[in-house]
């Protein structure tokens, strides 16, 4: 049985329950602030935010697969292709002309992140800067609701304020068999013009991919 037609990030975002972003933004800010008080070390706060994101990411992937109608895919390759064809193109404001061809698996990064950011946060993320062997790319966000009203004081210069996002990406990708390392390259809170997350593929374990349900 063919999978149900996949849906775009925009369509999903329009159809899910949504909340006032201000509440979300201030809640995240209050959490970061409390962590800084309780954990004292900025590095430790970075680590814990990443861990929280990871824990969220490994659960959000289910929501992503369910809502985007790709849950019945036979294997990872098919999932990647279904999402790539259907969702990425529809979710990005400017159509993508060149999907990188370095293994269909790695396209999933493309799909999951760009659709995911739209369907969860309501913002558009793009994927660029692929390296030659297709194991490293960047997720670029021009807008990010987490940082509305935020300014970093001098005492927090080492803080990766949005580190929860890198954790989410890492966790979600791990659930589709890709061990990655996700690091911040550019950060608007540090004066850059966009947010840029670098995603590096460390290991791919396709045999662990759980979606092998019967035809």
């Amino acid at each position: 049985m063919a999978p149900v037609a996949p849906r775009s990030g925009d369509a999903i975002f329009a159809s899910v329950e949504r909340v006032n972003a201000e509440l979300f933004t201030l809640t995240y800010g209050a959490i970061v602030r409390q962590l800084l008080t309780d954990l004292e070390e900025v590095d430790e706060v970075n680590k814990q935010l990443d861990q929280m994101g990871y824990n969220i990411g490994i659960r959000l992937i289910d929501e992503f697969l369910a809502k985007s109608n790709v849950s019945r895919c036979i294997d990872f390759k098919e999932t990647a292709e279904v999402i790539a064809k259907g969702l990425v193109l529809a979710s990005l404001k400017s159509p993508v002309k060149h999907l990188p061809c370095h293994g269909s698996a790695f396209k999933a990064i493309y799909d999951i992140t760009s659709v995911g950011f739209k369907m969860f946060l309501g913002v558009t993320a793009s994927v660029t800067n692929w390296d030659a062997d297709g194991t490293c790319c960047s997720i670029v966000l021009e807008d990010n609701p987490l940082v509305d009203f935020v300014e970093l004081p001098d005492t927090c210069q080492g803080l990766y304020y949005c580190n929860i996002l890198s954790g989410v990406v890492r966790g979600a990708l791990e659930m589709v068999s890709m061990k990655t390392e996700v690091t911040w390259v550019r950060d608007m809170l540090r004066g850059d013009d966009v947010f840029e997350l670098q995603v590096k593929l460390l290991k791919q374990v396709p045999e662990e991919y759980p979606y092998k349900d019967d035809e």
């Binding site: 975002f13 899910v16 329950e17 949504r18 909340v19 006032n20 972003a21 201000e22 509440l23 979300f24 201030l26 809640t27 995240y28 800010g29 209050a30 959490i31 602030r33 409390q34 309780d38 954990l39 814990q48 861990q51 929280m52 824990n55 969220i56 659960r59 959000l60 929501e63 369907m119 969860f120 946060l121 309501g122 609701p145 509305d148 929860i164």
Partner: protein
């Protein structure tokens, strides 16, 4: 139009925040975890009520302020108003939400159905589940306390979830 994010983002972040404080940072100190979670809520409530009252005249009395929490403030956060407000006219207010969103989709600890039929273990599991759930209520209690404190009303807020999915918040204004 006001900016929005998917509700699951909010739910995920809240659940993860509570889990981090209860299971990682203060694993064997539920009181400390509860206090931190409440403090986070307080901060959020304080800031939100500042924003939502910017264009308003000052409230003339406590009841006016509480009504603002029940109507406008609650609607901004939950897209619905508080369903029932009671007061003893001596500084205690009970705000009841008949279907409190942040508890509506919470599942009970599955270990409750695991094997054993003994009443005692079921009761233990149940009280554990209740405790875990109550951890989630410190955040909204903190929000209400923070919001009222920003309006110049110091108070204590507790929650009662004996009638799930309804949830009541008891506000005791400090004289």
């Amino acid at each position: 139009m006001a900016r929005e994010v998917s509700e699951i983002c909010m739910d995920s972040v809240l659940a993860e925040m509570v889990a981090s404080y209860c299971n990682r940072f203060y694993a064997n100190k539920p009181d400390l975890a509860a206090r931190r979670i409440e403090a986070i809520g307080y901060q959020v409530g304080h800031q939100l009520s500042e924003r939502y009252t910017m264009e308003r005249p000052r409230f003339s009395d406590h009841l006016e302020a509480i009504k603002f929490i029940c109507k406008d403030f609650w609607s901004e956060i939950f897209k619905k108003q508080i369903d029932n407000l009671k007061t003893n006219h001596r500084g205690t207010f009970v705000l009841q939400d008949n279907k409190f969103r942040w508890l509506a989709r919470m599942s009970v600890d599955p270990s409750a159905d695991n094997g054993s039929n003994e009443d005692s273990s079921a009761t233990v599991a149940e009280s554990k589940a209740a405790q875990a759930m109550s951890m989630h209520l410190y955040f909204p209690c903190g929000i209400i306390r923070g919001a009222l404190s920003n309006l110049g009303i110091p108070c204590a807020v507790s929650a009662d979830m004996s009638n799930l999915p309804a949830c009541s918040f008891v506000v005791r204004i400090k004289a």
